[in-house]
Amino acid sequence: MIEFQLDAASGVATYLQLVQQVHQALQLGLLEPGDQLPTAQQVVAKLAINPNTVLKAYRDLEREGLVQPRPGLGTFVIRSLPGTDPTTLNRFLATLTDWLGSARAAGLGPDDIEAIYRTAIRNYFAEGVA
């Protein structure tokens, strides 16, 4: 069984934090098919959040095909998520480091770079949502 944590300062919606934590646990192998997620009651008893928030997170995970509710028993993991291959991670880290070098050489400071990164992330992932 995993235990959820909340970061109030992150600005990420509570249900999304729960979804992300399940994703992470799946990638790290902390959760495997057959494992049970904490019940809504257990989560709210610990985090003092609205039970509907937990149910919303679990519905999202169900829609992704990762978990399945079994009436009267709880919510169970039915699929695992492969962790990202370390060589892939390293390849992108190297590309990004090169890019940072050229941004620095062009006179950009850490703040500029972060602003660019955030804008790019938002624009890229917001496509189709807005």
Binding site: A13, Q41, V44, A45, L47, I49, N50
Partner: protein
């Protein structure tokens, strides 16, 4: 589906002062509702009207489809914990539970006993000797054990220290998860409610300033900042709730159902706290300058 609480032009007058005025509101069942507003905004009045402790001066109020306080059946469907979670100081916890059993047709004695046990309280203890947090938990236990469909709580955590506050909200959310009860809780601090409520009502100077699902409200409000400009030049679909300007820059909080496409703006999401403060500020400003246009630029 019947609304948990529905009001139409509801008003309550004390002498010449309106404590609540022209309040039209519909709260669906199954929600945890945050009723937020500064002190004296009319939160307690609205809750008292919903319980049936007083009658409205004007308008109508329906609770779970019935008239507030109309007979034993209606009374049994609504649980109420008044401000400062009052109990009878000279009576033991056990006597409070016995009284609850006598007074309520739908009393769940096992639930009450189990909760007192879980809280680690001695039933022989008089409630006058309990800490604020413990007393609040006992009051909540009494309200829950009558198994209401709607639970109304007036400033339940205002007087509690941060730990007791958290424990209280944890118990309350457990009850919601277990029994699916609709909850309305008032507070003058939205931070207390941010994690628990999924429906928000902002009450300012006896008026409903804002009401809706928290998710929808957050998605439809944005914080814009960019080069200074006149807010009246914004598209009609964007309603300005709050604005501040320096000689070069404008910062706005707008309500807009569509996305903000103007590239001149840096768009940021808002928090529940931002929202409540903006609407409270808007109410204050309209009161100060009733009919004047916004004096900007």
């Amino acid at each position: 589906m019947t609304a948990a609480l529905e009001t139409n032009g509801l008003g309550k007058q004390y002498g010449r002062r309106w404590a609540l005025h022209d309040c039209t509101l519909s709260i669906p069942t199954g929600k945890v509702v945050g009723l937020v507003g500064p002190n004296g905004a009319g939160k307690t009045t609205l809750l008292h009207l919903a319980v049936g402790l007083m009658a409205p001066t004007s308008g109508t109020i329906t609770v779970l489809g019935g008239e507030p306080g109309d007979g034993p059946t209606q009374l049994a469907r609504v649980g109420f914990v008044a401000q400062d979670t009052p109990t009878y100081a000279g009576l033991s916890i056990a006597k409070h539970l016995r009284m609850g059993a006598w007074l309520n047709p739908t009393w769940d004695g096992d639930l009450a006993k189990r909760r007192i046990e879980q809280l680690g309280l001695d039933p022989r203890q008089k409630t006058g000797s309990l800490s604020g947090g413990q007393r609040a938990q006992v009051a909540l236990t009494l309200a829950i054990a009558k198994r209401p469909e709607l639970l109304l709580l007036d400033e339940p955590v205002a007087a509690l220290d941060p730990l007791a506050r958290r424990e209280f909200l944890q118990s309350l959310m457990e009850v919601v998860a277990e029994h699916g009860v609709t909850v309305v809780l008032s507070s003058h601090l939205v931070a207390d409610l941010e994690r628990v409520c999924d429906f928000l009502v902002v009450l300012v100077t006896s008026h409903v300033q804002l009401a809706g699902e928290v998710g929808t409200l957050l998605a439809s409000h944005h914080r814009l900042s960019g080069p200074r400009r006149d807010p009246s030049s914004l598209p009609a679909s964007q309603q300005v709730i709050e604005e501040s300007h320096t000689d070069k820059q404008s910062t706005l909080l707008v309500r807009s159902d569509g996305p903000i496409l103007d590239p001149a703006w840096t768009v940021k999401p808002v928090t529940l706290d931002d929202l409540v403060l903006a609407y409270m500020g808007q109410a204050r400003d309209t009161e100060r300058v009733p009919h004047q246009g916004l004096s900007v630029i």
